[in-house]
């Protein structure tokens, strides 16, 4: 299990986040709407995990522990916000 809850309510994504993490992440976000997500220690988040973040409209606290995601996802966020 790599989806954890910090003492202040922040949801932490730690280590590799495989497809199975999408469900606990979704649950966590449903239980505490508006909770922030920290992915500074996250590695290789699975598409399903990323999709939950997108659907929730969450911009995680970064930088993302995954360099590729950090490089490409940030651009995506910026662009999405720019369009909205």
């Amino acid at each position: 299990m790599t989806v954890r809850r910090a003492a202040d309510g922040t949801i932490l994504l730690v280590g590799p986040c495989p497809v199975d993490d999408a469900e606990p992440l979704l649950q966590g976000l449903l239980e505490a709407s508006g909770a922030s997500v920290d992915w500074t220690k996250c590695q290789k988040p699975h598409t399903a995990v990323l999709q939950v973040l997108m659907a929730a409209g969450v911009v995680p606290v970064g930088p993302c522990g995954d360099v590729w995601i950090e490089e490409w996802w940030r651009g995506n966020d910026r662009e999405t916000q720019g369009q909205g």
Partner: protein, 753 residues
Amino acid sequence: MNELHAQFVIEARELVRQATDDLIALEQDGSAPARIDRVFRAFHTLKGSAGVVELPAMTLLLHAAEDLLTAVRGGKVAVSADIIDLSLACLDQVSRWVDDFDAAAALPADAGDTGRMLAERMRAFLPGGASATAPAATHEAPVAAGVADWVLRLIEQARDKIVGSPALYSISYEPIPGCFFNGDDPVDLMRQIPGLLAFHIEPRSPFPPLAEMDPFACNLRLQAIAAADRADLAKIFRMVPDQVRIEPVPAEALSAPATDGKSDDNVALVRAILEAQAELLRMPGRTEGLAGCIGAARRVALNALRAGGFVQLADDLERNAPITLDSAGLLALIEQAAARLDAAAAAGKDSGVEAPDTATDRSDKPAERTLRISEDKIDALVNLAGELIVAKNTLAHSVKALDGQGGNVDLLRRDQDAIDRLAVELHDNILRLRMISVAQVFRSFPRLVRDVARQLNKQVTLITHGENTEADKTIVDRLFEPLVHLVRNAVDHGVETAEQRRATGKPEAATITIQASHSGDRFLVEVSDDGRGIDPATVRRRAAERQLLPDDELAALSDEQVIDLIFAAGFSTAETISDVSGRGIGMDVVRTAVERMGGRVTVASKVGAGTTVRLDLPMTIAMSLIMVVEAGGQAFGVAMDAVSETVRLPPDRISRIKNNEGFVLHDQVVPIVSLADLMKLPPRPAEGVSRLFIVAETGGRIAAFEIDAIRDRVEVVLKPMQGLLAGARGYAGTTLLGDGQVLLVLDVKEIMP
């Protein structure tokens, strides 16, 4: 959607309409050079506009159309019906795209392919442009041919990463919803792309609320641009070839115009639009539809100037050119604006004209501006004004009552008169807000006539008169359906084939005229053709076959009355049922639709000379003039337009035939119906005195309704029967009288014996 986009949508629609009109005129006129120029210019302006809002698929298609028209203009290709068909299809496609763009601020994903296919068909008409070579020609198109908008967007993002002109590929990957269960990780595949330059991920359809989300159903679209080897890319996506599209990015897409070059294009485009309007106004000897033409030219010029950012010029033009200006005056002003535009372009920012997009002081806006108001708000006003009319009638009633009690009501009556006048005027003005011209309805008919005539291999010229005639929006909107039936019928049944016409000494091309006009407070629309006319004998035979009427009744009908039977349900005189004008339901539908609007439809026809169908409609359906009559001690309303006259007759004028009574009026026998009997009310016992009748005529039948008295004539807002009474037959609706009484208004057509 920004202002430039919004303006584009408005103008593109206008240009599509104009180009459609011009194309149809071109086909009719033959290839008159001025006509071809106009068509060409409309396409050219459209292409320019599509370029400004960066819709490459539309630009590509219009570019092909423009090339074809250039060849036509240069005499290299002769105008044929196929070319007109294809050009119209091109406009239809553009029109659909404009709708898409309006709704979603983007063209559909398949726009590139659709545009390319249609463009190839157009290029096939060009000399040496056989379809086999067409694809090659497409690749050489100077625009970013058929490149999807997202590709251009991503390239723009990655512009500073692109060095030189490498071979680029666009990758669009739409994983199937169940892909996670197959063990796929789409983002991980994108991660493996070598030479990745841009990456974008978006939901395929909007995400549901989080609580309803299935975290394991993939709803994503992933897009990327990469400078890579195609084989490498194919290898990465080898497991999902059905879900991914890898396409080379054409070199032209890399040189897509940078934004700073745009203002020059803008000036040229605005200049071209102004010139097109000036050209329109310069056309000599044009009277028909001129007013509409001036209005449209003024509007287009203003829109173009505003969209281009020349707000000051637009405001000046709007201030100096009132809507009522004549064509010469407007032409001078438009030419002046064009000259100032040129001066501005030449002198840069030093001239008196501000450069585009410069902030302007807009505090001294001209007073006259148009407002777009939703129909609901207008309807709320209409209803309020209707209530005011009822209150006004109540006041009249109170004044009368006071007067009857011997009070001095002079002052009160004076005030009442003033309120009457104001209320009626207010109501009229509010109703006028809903008045629109029939031009927008008429506009679709040249195309319809052309298509139907071509389908039936007939030659038909359509003439429209009175496009600027106005009527209530509801009436104009509802007019379309019956008009379509009438016009289709005219082309299908009314008009003969060219051979038949030649044999009878008529010109080969038939003429169909649609004409709108006002007559008093009525709104008349006529559809006439110079075709074969309706033969009463044929109608009689057909009516007998279909047993529309008992034989003796049929025999008693005059020829005019027989022709009227074409409006009866289930009647069709066409020898063969065609797929153009249905199966004998058309004219029936026309009558129903027109009567629902409170109108009447009549037909006049002469064998060999043609047929005219006349729709007599109210100008608005909000108010109706009602006669309040009394029968059996109760008041009823009768719509004034159903009453042809009221007569008072001495007993000796009335004859009795068996159980029925009747009298002769204008050489016609009119049967008498007692309204009290009909309503199951006690009849008036009086004998030997003169009797009062209202004579009503509808659907070719006539009857005199006996009444006790005529009370009043009032203008009312008719409310349809509601609730339990909704199904009650014989009533048109109810209205509230001044004294608070609810008046039942009779539907004369239904109570007619």
